[in-house]
Symmetry: C2
Subunit: 157 residues, 2 copies
């Protein structure tokens, strides 16, 4: 019993030490990763505000402004996001709305990011060609946003 007790105590100490070290190490990386990906989403939103406002005719269509916002959106959507989606940064962490499916279905998540890159690249090619062209190309972009959020982002309801 005594030997077993010692062994258990030792095992517990290893676990606790390991957890404390891992948590201390991961927290900083998690914070940076969350800050980066949320900043990235803010920049999507900034450009989508211009493009969506025009598509919904809430702000006047301007070919140059539309083309610029769509080019910026496409550049952002084609950025690698390497380092954004690190283990331990799911919605169990305060401030994160990342569903575990981002890691358990990594291929599906990567496919959604690729859909946005493809749709926003198409939008960049069309956005300066008139309001109808903008509207037609904006739909798929909005669709990929919603689809990815439904599958991989925790609802804030």
């Amino acid at each position: 019993m005594k030997k077993s007790h010692l062994a258990s105590t030792f095992a517990l100490a290893v676990v606790l030490t390991g957890t404390a070290f891992a948590a201390g190490h991961i927290d900083e990386d998690v914070a940076k990763a969350m800050e980066a990906r949320q900043s990235h989403m803010t920049l999507y939103s900034f450009n989508l505000g211009t493009l969506g406002g025009m598509a919904q005719e809430k702000i006047p269509y301007d070919a140059q402004a539309a083309a610029t916002a769509a080019a910026d959106l496409a550049a952002l959507a084609n950025i690698s996001q390497t380092g954004y989606w690190i283990e331990g940064s799911d919605s169990s962490v305060e401030g994160s709305r990342a569903k575990p499916e981002i890691w358990t279905d990594a291929a599906g998540f990567a496919a959604k990011r690729q859909e946005l890159a493809t749709a926003s690249t198409a939008l960049a090619a069309a956005a300066g060609d008139g309001l109808d062209a903008l509207k037609a190309a904006f739909g798929p972009v909005g669709g990929t946003c919603g689809s990815c959020h439904r599958g991989y982002r925790v609802s804030d309801n």
Copy 2:
């Protein structure tokens, strides 16, 4: 006197109404613009952390990671920033460190942004070619950051 007084009162009312409307309108735009440009800087910093860590040999050189971070940095540096630097978003606004020179010397500020785009595009071409190539191309990038901050960002000292 009475006519003059009425005229002054009318002028003051116009100014106040104009200011109130402008402030109410601009505040939202200013908040969005500041959020966007600060998010953009966060993403610079995220990639510079990887690249600078390798250049300073604080983290091991990894050709693929270096090339990816540099490509992402270059993509970010080549984004238009249209809408980020709107009037009324200088350091007189809480949370802003933007010097008035951004607007009074717009050409100089644009030149600094172009320097970063050029230097980070060169870094993207070199970063995967070994640690020495990374170090050589990283210097000018760091130089443009510091130079722009000295000229156009209020010190936080």
